[in-house]
């Protein structure tokens, strides 16, 4: 099987279309970052409190809203999260409501506000830790075994396992404990605990200081990555190759971040990881084309550089499309099946792989040619890139 047999497409002739295409997307992204949605930093970078809550039934957004208002959390953002049937809600407090002194105050306020049916003196089993349950059991000693730490630890763990593994995070009835723990323990638990209609699945609290620190570091990491590429390519090829590759990768990063801004998808730490991976990936693509250009310059000394570049792109086209296609397949699998936690990460990769593949053809190669044309115009040595013989 073969998709491309000796393709001969004049890519460089279409450079103005490419430029227009790239400009539209970059400008749209930059515009959105500056004037519209801004950069949608995730909680890792802006600080704040995120609480992921799973309800036992279809959550009522208004009821959640009212509960938050009653707790005085007026700036809380409430979003549905994940698949519809999962009954999950994400409650997002901004950094102003995330206290420096007591970092988890916001979380505790949210949990208390949602425990609307709490009977006095009872503990919420859906949000109790196994430690709390163990301590309760040790205190009540329903099995009359005395202070047997191991026994009650195991029983508490069994209860938590039923809740988290079998029931997916929320118990709806004490009957669900039957069979998993000793009857006396189940009865005792029913005495001292109640079941709220939700469980907390995930909590992320980032203090204001950490956010700023991480933002700086993410920016630095991206810059270091770009500088690393520039140096390596300058060393392996000529400096203009490095510049072309870095401009290309910068273009990819800009469009990817722009897409996050346009769609208002949070940029979390893992998204930054994805972007750094893209820097590597997009470079791969560019290097493959550059390697071929370098090889062809030695073989075709008479030809114009634009001719050589076009030929090189066409020769590697089959590989470029295949690799991009295969990587795209894996990333798509991640996007579709990888779960909600990886959503932003795989989105960045999906966008980035499309853009990264496009840009090595549409941006990197034309920069090389444009540089040479500029050299000729200035009356300098026309063959500007006798790439180092290897």
């Amino acid at each position: 099987m073969e998709f491309f047999r000796n393709p001969n497409i004049d890519f460089l002739g279409k450079k103005w279309y490419f430029l227009a295409f790239s400009l539209i997307f970059s400008v749209a992204g930059v515009f959105s970052m500056l004037f519209w949605h801004g950069i949608p930093w995730g909680v890792d970078f802006r600080g704040g409190t995120l609480v992921y809550v799973k309800f036992a039934h279809q959550p009522d957004d208004n009821a959640v809203r009212t509960a938050m208002d009653r707790a005085g959390l007026r700036n809380a953002k409430i979003q549905r999260y994940g698949q519809v049937g999962n009954n999950e809600v994400l409650i997002d407090l901004d950094v102003r409501e995330t206290s420096e002194q007591a970092l988890d105050r916001g979380k505790i306020q949210i949990i208390n506000a949602l425990e609307t049916n709490a009977p006095a003196g009872k503990i919420d089993l859906n949000n109790a830790s196994s430690l709390t349950i163990k301590n309760y059991l040790m205190d009540k000693d329903p099995l009359h075994v005395g202070p047997d730490d191991g026994k009650y630890t195991a029983q508490a763990q069994a209860i938590v396992n039923v809740r988290d593994k079998t029931q997916g995070g929320v118990l709806t009835s004490f009957d669900q404990l039957k069979g998993a723990v000793e009857p006396a323990v189940a009865a005792s638990v029913q005495d001292g605990f109640f079941l709220s209609d939700f469980g907390v699945r995930n909590v992320e609290i980032v203090g204001p200081q950490v956010g700023g620190q991480l933002r700086k570091q993410a920016g630095l990491a991206t810059l270091y990555s770009l500088a690393g590429m520039l140096v390596y390519l300058g060393f392996r090829f000529e400096w203009i190759y490095g510049v072309a590759a870095v401009v290309t990768v910068f273009h990819d990063t800009l469009i990817t971040v722009g897409a996050f801004s346009l769609t208002r998808t949070d940029i979390s730490l893992t998204v930054i990881a994805a972007i750094l991976t893209l820097i590597g990936y997009s470079n791969n693509d560019t290097i493959v084309v550059f390697d071929r250009i370098r090889e062809n310059i030695k073989l075709m000394r008479r030809e114009k550089l634009s001719e050589i570049v076009n030929r090189s792109i066409n020769q590697t086209l089959s590989r470029t499309i295949l690799t991009a296609g295969l990587t795209f397949l894996t990333v798509l699998a991640l996007y579709l099946f990888g779960g909600e936690v990886l959503h932003g990460f795989s989105l960045a990769l999906v966008i980035g792989i499309l853009i990264g593949t496009y840009s090595s053809i549409a941006i990197a190669a034309p920069i090389l040619v444009a540089y040479q044309d500029w050299r000729i115009e200035k009356g300098k040595r026309p063959m500007a890139m006798p790439a180092k013989a290897k």
């Binding site: 099987m1 990491a221 690393g228 590597g280 990886l342």
Partner: protein, 538 residues
């Protein structure tokens, strides 16, 4: 098969065995379940997959500096008095921002050399410079200051580790967090509600026994009034903590001596016990030296009161009936059984050199971790199958070659992780998938080149040879740049992101071996069995 090829084959099989051992060790059972448990024994799951709590703490290192300079102020006053050098004041002008800065006022010029020698002999970590008129400035030398701060962090890590170990949390991670200054990263797997652990870690547990000079007073003002508006110079007012019978918490104030008779450093042991009323309490014993000091103190103050102060709150005030040598008790009223156990454990683990503040807290519930694991593995398998099937369809015979290389790549990657005790996180699983996608790139590069050479009329052996040698340079370049990205990620990231960088790097390194070396051996083997001029399935 020629000998050269045989050796290469042996090398490949050897590698396979070594890395399979890396993944599974020697499994107890060869069933699916047995293999899975053998695998998770060696490759640890990250917090995001198994559930748990991730905390970042900031050590308030200036606390440690304050303690040191407070001590230096005391030393200075004592020495100046002892040598009869006149001075009007020794103070810290800006204790919050410049905690190591001390000013000595009103020292006559004639005492200059005496003052210098005091600082030189007794406070070698401080630098003294002359200020305006008769003032002198003391500040810690920069290396001493940073040394003190770093020591505070190291000691805090040590103390927190002791406490977490005593709590019996399994497989905790406690280390300096490289990203911010003076920060500690604590990871506690399988702790779903960290509230109690957090309190225990944060408690500075500074125990002091001081002389009680008066109280309880209902408020600070009341105490001041009673003392005629000004406190004695060597006394301080401290709030009481949960004391029975004296009103609300924080409403009782005590006047106690600034200097402590003994402190937490003098403790040898602390155990939960019950006081004479049968209430939970903590009893402690002192070290020999501490006991001696305590004996001297109690002998001199029979019928006076002593105050047990924990974290600057008065826990208990008791009358000294007779000299006490090395035993004491903290009962302080409304202590629960759990609190007495926790407090004795905290006291045993030692005091924190400085208070700590929580900067970041992430808790992944086990139900979410399990869901993420399932989704990640499902995506990995689907992505991998898609690639494997595509390669077979597109390259036919050579597709098998690529698929073998890919599977071996995966085995080596997981084996690496087993050997290096790397942690598999959700982004790490994504890294595995990405390795598959990017790893196959090397095969595609090589195969496309071979096809091209074949089209140009080369014979299969020469096309294979050319294909590999041309693609090799490109493969090295592409791998180096990606590994540079991953290395920067590893340095910059924590937890999940690090897991991703690790798998990506290992995966690409393994890919150099599988896509180039293994693939080549398979081609050579196929070619060696073919007749001259027979076509290659690619």
């Amino acid at each position: 098969m020629n000998k050269n090829l045989l050796w290469k084959l042996v090398l490949i099989v050897g590698t396979l065995i070594v890395f399979l051992f890396g993944i599974f060790g020697i499994p107890k059972a060869f069933s699916g379940q047995g293999l899975l448990s053998a695998m998770t024994d060696r490759i640890h799951l990250g917090l995001d997959l198994r559930g748990g709590t991730h905390l970042i703490l900031q050590v308030q290192v200036n606390d440690a500096v304050k303690v040191d300079s407070d001590n230096a102020v005391e030393v200075l006053k004592e020495q100046l008095n002892k040598r009869k050098i006149a001075f009007s004041e020794v103070s810290k002008p800006d204790p919050d921002n410049n905690p190591d800065h001390i000013v000595i006022k009103g020292v006559p010029p004639s005492s200059r050399s005496d003052l210098l020698s005091i600082v030189h002999d007794r406070l070698p970590e401080y630098e003294i410079t002359s200020g305006t008129s008769d003032n002198w400035n003391l500040a810690m030398t920069p290396p001493m200051l940073s040394d003190l701060k770093n020591r505070a962090v190291t000691q805090a890590i040590e103390t927190i580790r002791n406490r977490i170990d005593a709590l019996g949390v399994s497989e905790p991670t406690i280390q300096e967090h490289g990203l911010g200054q003076y920060q500690i990263l604590v990871q506690l797997p399988s702790i779903d509600d960290p509230a109690r652990v957090k309190d225990i870690m944060q408690s500075t547990a500074m125990l002091e026994i001081k002389q009680s000079l008066g109280g309880p007073y209902p408020s600070e003002q009341a105490a001041l009034q009673e003392k005629g508006g000004i406190l004695p110079p060597d006394a301080i007012l401290l709030p009481g903590h949960n004391m029975p019978g004296v009103g609300e918490e924080g409403q009782a104030w005590y006047l106690v001596s600034r200097v402590s008779a003994v402190s937490g450093k003098d403790l040898r042991d602390a155990q939960p016990s019950r006081d004479q009323n049968g209430q939970p309490s903590v009893s402690f014993t002192l070290t020999g030296e501490g006991g001696q000091r305590f004996y001297n103190f109690t002998s001199a103050h029979v019928n006076d009161s002593l105050a047990v102060v924990l974290d600057n709150k008065v826990q208990e005030v008791a009358n000294i009936k007779e000299p006490i040598r090395d035993r004491g008790e903290i009962s302080g009223g409304r202590m629960s059984e759990q609190a007495s156990k926790d407090l004795s454990m905290i006291l045993r683990s030692g005091a924190l050199p400085a208070s700590v503040k929580y900067m970041e807290e992430r808790t992944v519930g086990p139900s979410l971790g399990a869901d993420s694991m399932r989704a990640g593995v499902r995506a990995a398998i689907i992505g991998m199958l898609a690639v494997l099937i595509f390669m077979l369809v597109y390259y036919r015979g050579a597709g098998i070659n690529a698929d073998v290389a890919l599977l071996l790549n995966l085995i080596i990657l997981l084996g690496f992780m087993g050997y290096f005790e790397a942690v598999l996180t959700l982004p790490g699983i994504a890294g595995v998938i990405l390795t598959v996608g990017m790893g196959v790139d090397s095969n595609v590069l090589i195969f496309e080149r071979i096809r091209e050479e074949l089209r140009n009329g080369k014979t299969p052996p020469s096309a294979v040879d050319q294909g590999f040698s041309h693609a090799w340079i490109t493969i090295v370049d592409t791998h180096v740049t990606t590994i540079v990205s991953a290395a920067i990620l590893f340095i910059f990231g924590t937890g999940p992101v690090r897991g991703f960088a690790t798998t990506l790097t290992f995966g690409l390194l393994a890919n150099l071996f599988t896509a180039v070396f293994v693939s080549r051996v398979i081609f050579d083997y196929l070619l060696s069995r073919k007749q001259r001029g027979e076509a290659l399935s690619i």
